[in-house]
């Protein structure tokens, strides 16, 4: 890659010192500026001029070796003198170092590459320019000047800009970035102590002293030979930076000897001149585009950059260096480093793109992002070529580092960010990026104005329509229809023509529609986001008649042809209903809508839709007001909104609807929020899924801007961004917010918008998964977290029945923050301790739970339970959950199977009561194993021979076939059900024989036990009691009593008294149940009473009553 070259150049540049620095500066600006076309053009011109000299010389070695020293000396001195004093010294050092080292190492290390190598084709322009510059300087100052002048005018290449800046403007600091770059390559170490900040912008006049010259000379001679001062500085730097090779090259090019050097050196030292390495690439890119405005460039250059740690895959050597350098960096934060968040000029980061990665030291990431956004910068999550800066914290992901490296993105830390904010002029000054941003802004504004005008036109049109004669109306409508179609295709380009003639006086009637209605999209182009989905929907609808003709056999291009129904799903407020209506309207369908406010039970769906599905719209045959009949209106589309809103009273509605979807001849559009709900399952194969996603900020912004513009509300784009992000891209809510804001404000500022979106934040009950993710992995317990104890306890109450179970299931899956400072065995011990604490707290919580859900019903302990079982354990083990898959409480499943087992044991015990006095624990422990070997094992070994004996044994203990299965199921260890292999023949024989014979019953049958049929069924009381008993205890009790008293009499009348008893016993249990239920209800606030329990209780009571009555 060009990196080598760059390094060379850097070396050369260092020789020239000024050049590299500028380059550094330039790259950022160029990056920013890339978008701007102007600059690019200039670049070309510059390149043409300048390149001639430098391009050929691009190879750094050349410059360094031969020409650079001399030419550089002069040039640099001039530059420095004129432009920026600060960097000069450091630059020199760096240059020297770079020169020496670059040729060797540069190719290897990527960062080095960026700096040293001439940038690749796109970005190379910069490098080349750099090279050229030095060259030019060396050769002819006049030429250079000319170039510079040109550059200034055109703001051509970065180099040019740099030159200009240095020479002409003299204001800008020549940043030492280049130098740093150079050094890096030499060492190949990622970290360089690039001089982060140019000392200040404003030592405008650097006098080119002998430093430059010296530097050059020194360069030529040796790496570090520079002015003495410089040398010292260099040495120190080298030590600091990466003693081995990675001394961050501080590339400040300002050549002033004494004063500046002194100042610069410390600053350089302190500032870990990280920028150089990656920045060079950027610089190159920038150079290609257009040279930055010198001042801005200076600022950019002056921003201390950090050498990002090399990504893991890098060579071990490099790695080490990197780490050291990094460490040095972190150890000695730049002078600017302080937690004070600076205030800058409004919009000063305009056009810049930032990526935050890793753990920042003084800022929370959100804070940092908010900061950038406040000043008009853009924040993205993943670094890319377009990224201007990466704000790097510790522990950045290797992937990101890799990207940073390959793209040569400038990395800075918080302090660099602060510095940027502090120093950049309002609106980003006239930097390239800002200019580009401005242009974009302007374009957007124009677009908005256009849209607004369009909207106005439309409105007028509509009013006109209302006023005009019917025929006219019809005509206009047709027109409009055409228009719309055009618009859909061309993003609403061509409305003006048709609407123009329709303009009439607009009535000044107060418009009391909601904004959400008023500004509902009227063309497809106005729908924000989800374009492809909308297109698909339209295509499907358009092709529907054909699909009907082909009987849905042809799938069509996108596979939608076989579906009779479409289901649109996505979060609220993103335009699902709007899109469906609009598309249907544009395709000329008559809309029949049904939503959650209509009852949609199975019956009504079936009957109601039958009327719809087989009919055609009357609008196709008649029309009022003398309008022509539109044949197209015969078509109908059925929109079922809020399908997931079918709930109580809509029983069977979903199934019926799904059935309708399978045979409808009318297109159906279903809309729901959550497609994954189990109740939406019936639609799985009969509908065409169209997931709608939340539109991006960019999608929504222009629309909102348009609305705000139309309403005369001034909202800067970054405020709108904040609103949109705050509402999670809910378009409707943003419109609502803007409309509310308009009530008492004419303009909205960033903080206002932020607080508004905060206040409007939708509070939704979190799902268990989110809860546990938040409490365990969400950093709520991090030192920087501002969450209060109350908020954490509130989390528990989001779902007080599941949250603590979720925590218990997942508390081992974290990487506890508390243990993060330990390593090796210590860490293991610490982890054990934390887990121990957490576990004991969870079990404490279980004690509390007993008091809440047990017999005492102490609901006032709920907050205590929250603290014990949820917050406190989380406080120990909270930490990153990366790589851990959050599980659902397995307790629930285990608990229910445990209860089932218990019930089975109880049943067995109940049956055996006449023969054995053991309680159920003893039955389980002593009897069941023996029974197992006598029954199951015997069957397994002896086959069908053993069947009669087994049945005899069972009869003697009054065990039923169900009990046999239960015993089989209860087996553990070697008795495990899975390990038992009974011949199927033996099994069949057993079943047949058992069913043939009649078996003694110890009492009237309970539960699932086989029963002598009809008689029992006739008795309602009995059955009810039995049903009730399907929760354990009751059954047993019933059975027991029956056994004791009833014996074998199967007579109904005999049994009845037993029933009473059975009923009587259940009472207490039932009461408990009811209590629980009540408490449940109270707790959940919603009536989530489990119907089963409620019914059971009710039945229990009834049966009691009846029993008594009969008595």
């Amino acid at each position: 890659m060009p990196s080598d070259i760059r390094s060379f150049f850097g070396g050369g540049g260092q020789g020239t010192q000024k050049l590299p620095a500028r380059k550094e500066e330039a790259p950022p600006t160029k990056k920013r500026g890339r978008p701007a076309t102007r600059r690019v053009i200039h670049d070309d011109s510059e390149e043409d001029d300048a390149p001639t000299k430098p391009t050929p010389k691009k190879s750094a070695p050349k410059a360094k070796r031969e020409p650079t020293p001399e030419g550089q000396a002069t040039t640099t001195s001039d530059y420095f003198g004129s432009k920026k004093p600060k960097r000069s010294e450091p630059v020199k050092r760096k240059n020297a170092t770079t020169e020496v080292t670059t040729p060797k190492a540069s190719p290897k290390s990527s960062p080095a590459k960026s700096r040293t190598k001439p940038s690749p084709p796109a970005t190379n322009g910069r490098t080349s320019t750099r090279a050229k510059k030095p060259m030019t300087y060396n050769e002819d100052e006049d030429n250079i000047d000319a170039y510079l002048n040109d550059d200034d005018d055109g703001a051509d290449d970065i180099f040019a800009a740099d030159f200009k800046n240095r020479r002409i403007d003299t204001d800008n600091y020549v940043e030492s970035l280049d130098v740093t770059h150079v050094k890096l390559p030499h060492h190949q170490t990622p970290k360089r102590k690039g001089t982060k900040k140019a000392k200040d912008d404003h030592e405008e006049n650097y006098e080119p002293d002998g430093h430059d010259i010296n530097m050059k000379d020194t360069d030529a001679d040796s790496d570090f030979t520079v002015s003495d001062d410089h040398k010292e500085a260099v040495k120190s730097k080298s030590k600091d930076g990466g003693k081995s090779t990675k001394t961050s090259s501080r590339k400040r090019k300002s050549v002033e000897l004494s004063e500046e050097d002194e100042e610069a050196e410390p600053s350089k030292k302190t500032r870990k001149a990280a920028p150089a390495k990656k920045s060079p690439v950027k610089k190159k890119a920038k150079k290609e585009d257009v040279p930055e405005n010198p001042k801005v460039q200076e600022i950019f250059d002056s921003i201390p950059t950090i050498r990002p740690p090399t990504p893991p895959p890098a060579s071990g050597e490099a790695k080490k260096f990197n780490f050291r350098a990094q460490h040095a960096n972190s150890g000695a934060p730049p002078s600017a480093g302080s937690a004070d968040i600076p205030t800058g000029q409004p919009n000063c980061l305009a056009g810049l793109t930032f990526v935050f990665t890793g753990l920042l030291q003084t800022l929370q990431r959100e804070e940092g992002q908010a900061l950038v956004k406040r000043y008009g910068g853009k924040v993205t999550t993943a670094p890319s070529k377009k990224t201007s800066y990466v704000v790097l914290g510790s522990d950045a992901g290797p992937k990101k580092l890799q990207t940073i490296r390959t793209n040569g993105i400038k990395t800075i830390d918080e302090d660099g960010l602060f510095e940027l904010i502090r120093r950049l002029p309002a609106n980003g000054g006239d930097s390239k990026a800002a200019a580009a941003y401005e242009e974009k802004q302007k374009a957007e504004e124009e677009k908005i104005k256009k849209m607004a005008a369009e909207m106005e036109r439309e409105e007028r049109q509509e009013k006109q329509k209302a006023e005009e004669a019917k025929m006219n109306q019809l005509a206009t409508r047709m027109q409009k229809g055409d228009q719309r179609k055009d618009g859909a295709g061309r993003a609403g380009g061509g409305k003006a023509s048709s609407s123009g003639n329709l303009e009439k006086a607009v009535e000044a009637r107060p418009d009391n529609r909601l904004w959400t209605v008023k500004y509902a999209p009227t063309q497809l182009s106005q729908i924000c986001g989800n374009k492809t989905q909308v297109d698909k929907l339209q295509k499907w609808l358009k092709n529907f008649p054909r699909a009907v003709r082909t009987n849905f056999k042809l799938a069509g291009a996108d596979g939608s042809g076989t579906y009779r129904a479409v289901i649109i799903h996505g979060p609220p407020g993103i335009g699902k209903t709007t899109a469906a209506h609009l598309v249907a309207k544009l395709e000329g369908y008559d809309i029949v809508e049904s939503n959650a406010s209509d009852t949609r039970s199975k019956k009504l769906v079936e009957e109601g839709l039958r009327g719809v599905l087989s009919t055609t719209s009357l609008l196709g045959y008649f029309s009022g007001d003398g309008k022509q009949v539109e044949a197209s209106k015969k078509k109908m589309v059925l929109i079922m909104d809020e399908v997931d809103g079918m709930s109580a009273g809509d029983r069977g509605g979903v199934g019926a609807l799904a059935a309708v979807c399978k045979k409808t001849q009318v297109p159906m559009i279903l809309i729901c929020n959550d497609r994954r709900l189990p109740k939406m399952k019936p639609f799985d194969h009969c509908t065409y899924d169209l997931p709608f996603r939340r539109p991006t900020v960019d999608h929504i912004r222009s629309r909102i801007m348009t609305i705000a513009f139309r309403e005369g509300l001034k909202v800067p784009p970054n405020v709108i961004n904040a609103l949109i992000e705050g509402s999670n891209a809910d378009i409707r809510q943003v419109v609502n917010m803007v409309s509310t804001a308009k009530l008492d404000q004419e303009a909205m500022d960033f903080d206002g918008g932020k607080s508004m979106s905060k206040a409007w934040e939708k509070h939704v009950i979190l799902k268990p998964w989110d809860i546990v993710g938040k409490i365990l992995g969400g950093g709520m317990f991090a030192a920087s977290s501002k969450a209060t104890l109350n908020e954490k306890i509130e989390l528990y109450f989001n779902d007080h029945e599941l949250s603590y179970l979720m925590l218990q299931e997942n508390y081992l899956g974290t990487n506890p923050i508390v243990a993060s400072t330990y390593t090796g065995k210590e860490r293991n011990l610490k982890m054990l301790e934390l887990v121990d604490n957490a576990a004991s707290s969870i079990s404490d919580g279980d004690l509390v739970d007993r008091m809440i859900h047990g017999s005492q019903q102490q609901w006032s302990l709920m907050p205590t339970h929250a603290a014990f079982s949820f917050v406190r354990p989380a406080s120990f083990v909270s930490g990153s959950m990366a790589g851990y898959k959050t599980g659902f409480p397995s307790w629930l499943g285990k608990n229910s199977s445990a209860q089932k087992m218990q019930r089975m044991v109880k049943e067995i015990q109940g049956h055996m009561r006449l023969r054995s006095s053991a309680d159920r624990h003893e039955i389980r422990q002593s009897y069941v194993p023996v029974l197992w070997s006598q029954m199951v094992k015997k069957l397994e070994t002896d086959g069908k021979e053993a069947v009669p004996a087994v049945i005899d044994l069972m009869d003697s203990y009054f065990l039923t076939k169900d009990d046999f299965d239960a015993i089989q199921e209860l087996g553990v260890g070697y008795m495990d059900q899975e390990k038992v292999n009974i011949e199927s023949q033996a099994k069949a024989t057993f079943t047949r024989l058992y069913n043939q014979q009649s078996h003694p019953l110890p009492f009237m049958k309970a539960g699932n036990v086989l029963q002598p049929k009809a008689k029992q069924k006739e008795q309602p009381d009995l059955e009810e009691a039995i049903e009730e008993s399907d929760d354990d205890q009751v059954i047993n009790e019933v059975k027991e009593e029956d056994e004791e008293e009833v014996d074998l009499s199967k007579d109904k009348y005999v049994k009845q008294p037993k029933k009473k008893k059975a009923a009587a016993k259940p009472k207490p249990a039932a009461k408990k149940r009811t209590k629980k239920d009540d408490s449940d209800e109270e707790l959940s606030d919603e009536e989530e009473v489990k119907p089963k329990k409620g019914k059971a209780v009710a039945r229990g009571n009834n049966s009691k009553g009846r029993g008594r009555g009969r008595k």
Partner: protein, 349 residues
């Protein structure tokens, strides 16, 4: 009917402040319920917006959420009254948790009301007020979704709720969400002073302070306490108020917890004894301790959790029936022990 009720209250409110003595039997909360938005205390910014809405009409759908007693229902009622004036009875449907608001009511009654034609001036719409909307089932809320949109030209909805997370997201997306903050002490004081003057209540400053403190930003509770203190003692001072309010003074409890944190067990015990002698029940004291510990600012979170652990266990024991002074003393002692050196508890021979 709901409409009737609400209109009655309107009547009452209007009449009472002026009528004064003749209506003395009315709770002051009702008697002094604001009639106009101007009278509403606190949350000025939001109220200002509501005033603009009241003036200009075109009310958006709103959700007002906040703690009890801070004027949610009142502001909606005021807004509706100011918007609709005489048509209030016709054009307002008010449903609260005491009315059935199942899905059927939404589908029939509310939808029917939304479809109803009421002649109103331009910019005015019918208003459906759903008080305590957080107690509506999600099914009923689902059924409101399209209704709110389809009939938005003639009907607007206003929800009042304590927890906005009980309102389903789609409804929140359709509404302007206004969050009411707790009233500041100064706001409560001003209003209470007005009422005292109007009712000719004699009071001392510490009485007012006690009222404000016990109310914790809940205006309704402050006024109720004022009235009961006045009715019971005829004079409002700190002691009387706390007799009426009957809960351990959180400040005292906080001081006690702080003492425990600083291992000053004697002082902590003194405070506990003082509270005990005032006759507070063990339950009250322990649950106040829990609440105070949760929010006490001077403790670290870790310390809070440790304290809560002890308090929680004591709470459990108390609920199991051991409600003695000794129980509380033990709790306080254990709290102190948390921060003392373990070595102090080793008996030396």
């Amino acid at each position: 009917m709901a409409q009737g009720e609400s209109s009655k209250t309107v009547h009452g409110i209007k009449a009472n402040p002026n009528a004064g003595g003749s209506n003395y039997e009315l709770p002051w909360v009702e008697k002094y319920r604001p009639v106009y938005l101007d009278d509403i205390v606190g949350n000025t910014e939001t109220i200002e917006r509501l005033k603009i809405i009241a003036k200009d009409g075109n009310m958006p759908h709103v959700i007002i959420s906040g703690m009890p007693g801070i004027g949610k229902t009142t502001s909606i009622l005021c807004l509706a009254r100011q918007l609709l004036g005489d048509a209030y009875k016709e054009a307002v449907l008010e449903l609260n948790a005491s009315d059935e608001r199942g899905i059927d009511v939404v589908r029939n009654r509310i939808k029917g009301f939304a479809q109803k034609k009421v002649t109103l001036p331009a910019g005015r719409q019918k208003i459906v007020i759903l008080d305590e909307a957080d107690s509506m089932t999600s099914g009923a809320q689902q059924a409101l979704r399209r209704t709110m949109e389809i009939y938005s030209s003639t009907t607007r909805f206003a929800f009042a709720c304590n927890q906005s997370n009980k309102i389903i997201e789609p409804l929140q997306s359709r509404c302007a969400i206004l969050r009411y903050a707790r009233l500041t002490d100064a706001q409560v004081v001003r209003r209470i002073n007005q009422i005292c003057t109007a009712e000719k209540v004699e009071f001392s400053d510490d009485g007012i302070a006690a009222l404000v403190f016990s109310a914790e930003g809940d205006m309704r509770q402050a006024i109720n306490n004022l009235q009961s203190t006045f009715a019971g003692f005829g004079f409002v001072n700190g002691d009387n108020v706390f007799k009426v309010v009957d809960s351990p003074h959180p400040i005292k409890v906080q001081a006690m917890i702080k003492c425990c944190h600083e291992t000053k067990i004697d002082e902590a015990m003194d405070i506990l004894k003082e509270l005990w002698d005032l006759g507070y029940s063990t339950h009250d004291i322990i649950s106040t301790m829990f609440r105070v510990t949760k929010t006490i600012p001077s403790l670290s979170e870790h310390a809070k959790l440790e304290f809560i652990k002890e308090i929680g266990f004591t709470h459990m024991r108390i609920l199991e029936g051991v409600q003695t002074f000794l129980q509380l003393s033990g709790c306080v002692a254990r709290l102190c022990k948390i921060n003392m050196k373990p070595s102090l508890f080793i008996i030396k021979k």
